[in-house]
Subunit: 193 residues, 2 copies
DNA sequence: TCCTTAACGGGACTGCAGTTCCTTTTCGGA
DNA sequence: TCCGAAAAGGAACTGCAGTCCCGTTAAGGA
């Protein structure tokens, strides 16, 4: 592997093209030949380095996982979860990013390698925000037995659910409800492990 | 259109084959030629009657929407939501049905016609269970301003979220938490419209 | 039972994704 | 600056999905 120079340029050109293609056509709407055309690189190169659409999408997700999304710290559980909900909402409601995430989830249902990459991606995101809930426990807002990751996931779930099953971007009201519901459920002890 | 006889047999043979193919390969893993082969019908027929994979999947979803899934009536909000959660869990955790629903969601992200059909499907399912929450309001368990459909959706969301983002079937514990969280949030007034 | 017509099915054709083989570029160390 | 290795690119080949044309089957009314 040669990390710098042309090889790297080719990789980023292909991943850019893949993201755009995913946004425009979804995971089933394109193939490696078209990807090579869009990226302006040789078809042979794409087939040699990646070989399948799944591998390309997996590489794209791994690339996305490298950028971090720092947690909020408002001092209250409600504030932190609201911040997280609005961040997720903004991402999924953005036309480009929303379609990209929907396409990634769709691709993961068919390709195990993509599914692994996507699981790693979400594990990383969840673990970045988990401290919000852990801090709430430390402050005495929640029971020490609370499953902190489950609370963070409970915030995202309704927003993804709306995007994926209704095809509609989540609204600010959805985000408010998602954060409120997760906080209320956590306080009620639903997420005790 | 001739609803009875050979035409109907051809349609059900194709929809059966489509469901199996979706389970085995996902929405991107097959095409109409293969579908015709699996169903044992002429390739021309499939291209003439449906034309695209999206149309087939849409037809399949419309067919699924016709079968009803009656609501529970345990007499309490918690009992009804737990029954709903477990029904959804059992569906998504079943190897065949789970893969089918994941594939349907994936297909809907790429094809608007499929997305419409899937939205209709879920609208129907939600409206079948909405009375559980409406009854809880009538019994005085919840505030009359509660958005009943939102409560039902809140039960499903975490289960779908787990299946789609982690690729893992939801567990009984997930179902218990999903129902408990929705009920707790509803009681806390999060779903007032 | 017969006849009309809508729908199914077989087979040849075409375009393009995916493969193969070989040449050209360029990276990076000496 | 030069050289060997490693990766990119070009071009021809192949298999198969999608299309087209026309003959065959069967549904359903008279």
């Amino acid at each position: 592997m040669r990390p710098g120079g042309r090889a790297a340029r080719v990789r980023s050109a292909l991943l850019d093209a893949a993201a755009t293609a995913l946004v425009e056509c979804g995971p089933a709407g394109f193939d490696l030949a078209e990807l090579a055309r869009r990226a302006g690189i040789g078809k042979t190169t794409v087939y040699r380095r990646w070989g399948t659409v799944g591998a390309v999408v997996g590489d794209l997700v791994a690339d996305m996982a490298e950028t971090s999304l720092p947690r909020a710290d408002t001092g209250t559980l409600d504030g932190d979860l609201a911040a997280n909900a609005d961040l997720v909402r903004a991402t999924l409601a953005d036309p480009r990013q929303g379609r990209l995430f929907a396409a990634l989830v769709a691709a993961a249902t068919a390709d195990p390698a993509t599914a692994d990459a996507l699981r790693d991606f979400y594990d990383r995101r969840i673990s970045e925000w988990q401290p919000c809930v852990a801090d709430a426990v430390a402050r005495g807002e929640l029971d020490p037995g609370t499953d902190t990751a489950a609370v963070v996931r409970a915030v995202s779930a309704p927003l993804y659910y709306r995007l994926l099953t209704r095809g509609e971007p989540p609204t600010e009201d959805d985000a408010r409800r998602a954060a409120g519901a997760a906080a209320a459920a956590a306080r009620a002890g639903v997420f005790l492990s």
